[in-house]
Amino acid sequence: MTHELVMVEEGDDKRVDGRTPNQMRPLSCSRNVLHRAHGSARWSQGETSVLASVYGPKSGTRKGENPEKASIEVIWKPRTGQIGKTEKEYEMILKGTLQNIIILTENPNTTTSVTLQVMSDDGSLLSCGINAACAALLDAGVQLKQLAIAICCGLTNDGTVLLDPSKIEETKVRAFACFAITNSPLSALSEVTPGSDKGKSLENGIVTSITYGSMQESDFFHCLERGRAATSRISEFLRKNLKS
């Protein structure tokens, strides 16, 4: 693993915008940005920005849903164009992710609706959306078991893992993966000294993993490791945001 690091530092793998492969774009999160919605958040990673809003439990579930649990309705709105298959796919992914983090038995026979609006798209859109949805749920006060923090990784032809790829990078990579990894409250309570591998000692399950393109098994696990470490940092950021 140290070998790879040396290669990186030699300056061959500088990305288009000057980042190193392990460097993410600047994150920003604003909560409570909408007035009518019960909870709202705007999450930005570099130029990609997604606005999420949550409307709290409305009575009744839709026809096929299980009335003993709360149901979640996700609506993904692209910037332009009709709602097509990509958007439906994102909605499905988000619904699956959120179902695993929300305590569904709390409000049975209700519907919580989450709406996501893409404000600008410069790569890593799905991860931005998942993070925005999490932050909005927190803002709305919906009870969550854990946070699902998402990260996108791209795999280049020479095996380098790029974190948080931009749109240009996304078109050039061989394969592309998006992970949503849970972070439990335990990580926030323990005292952290910089440099400690706190991620390893706590439960970090993968809620969602989507890949595009073909990659070797070892590459996949490599991406996953990088993704895990990245999500622990992002969740730190989010928790600090909540405290302030």
Binding site: N22, P26, S30, L34, M119, S120, D197
Partner: protein, 419 residues
Amino acid sequence: MGNVSRMTVNERKFIETAILNDLRIDGRRPFNYRPLTIKLGREDGSSEVHLGQTHVMAYVTAQLSQPYRDRPNEGSFSVFSEFSPMADPLFEIGRPGESAIELGRVIDRGLRESKAIDAVRLDIHILDNGGNLIDAANIAALSALSTFRRPECTVSEDDGQEVTIHPPETREPLPLIIHHLPVAITFAFFNEGNILVIDPSNHEEIVSGGRMTVSINTNSEICAIQKAGGEGVMSGVVMQCMRIASMKAADITKEIKNSVEIFDNERTLRKIKRHSEVATLEIDVPDSSMNETSQLHHITGLKNHTDLIPKSEPNTISQVFIGQASNWDPYSMKTSSHLSKHFVASPSTLSPSHVNRVVETISLPKLEKNQTENTTMDNDGVISMAVETSSVTKTKNMLTLKDAVDKKRKMKKKMKNVK
């Protein structure tokens, strides 16, 4: 927030009585607009408008398409406005409801002038329904169209059939030819059409007896009038509305033109900067180049997000938190845990003068609090991170509570920072 459509009798009576006395529930006078903020995104043709609590986003795209046979020199212009369920719990996804269609048609009628072969498509997203969606959406649409640039396309000479679209790198994209800006002004009627107010909020809209929208431009030419149903009003009242509308239209057009001008200036600046940045990337360490841009925008970045904080509601505290680019390496010894309170670039850029016009909010006290926290967090980080920390804290130190009060001083400081 509760379900606004079902208002209690008391609320209704209160609003009506207040309006009879020339008072509105948010403290405005009958012919005052709510504070208007226009934000133009980084890309050409995208805008976000805040009109009080109403939040609307517009986005313009163009596609090459075949023109109609009887109008070979004209393109088409289509407006898609969908009410997002984000804006109001009553809005449902799927087929746009009648108010969405009405909104689209009103804007369409006011703007039906296109001279390009491209099919221009305007998407309007309603993000937050605070009342008077038509006006806000119209302003967003005008701003987006004013900043939109379509790629230049040439028709080949030999057979006249082939069209080449030039990418923005080779040829400068062209703006749309817009002859005039029709601004929509909405009035609400109360008390059987005797009293009118401008720019109704959503409570007032529900209580009102009728609504009328006038699209008018700075030459006092009426582009469109829409009054669908509701109470009947005397023709004299309608004429009065037009007169008031023409005055308000001038103000709003000025606002739009200012924002567009600022955007255009920034655009040209960015074009010049792009060339110099390319040169530096080859030599410099990546972190420092990121830092440059972050310094430029960090103040504006904060302002950008605090624009969205409602000023009038003291009990809702909105959180603004911006993290620095994380420069961590999981396998190196020099791991830094710095995802903390560095103020960094936000997606849309604002120039200092534009930011100044924005409503002042409670952002600056937060700055100070974070400042102190930042200094304690400065433990053994990566070398490059340390550089960023010191420079960012230095610039932050320059903004204090006094600047919140003293606009002029802050503006001067911002100009210094940009330079």
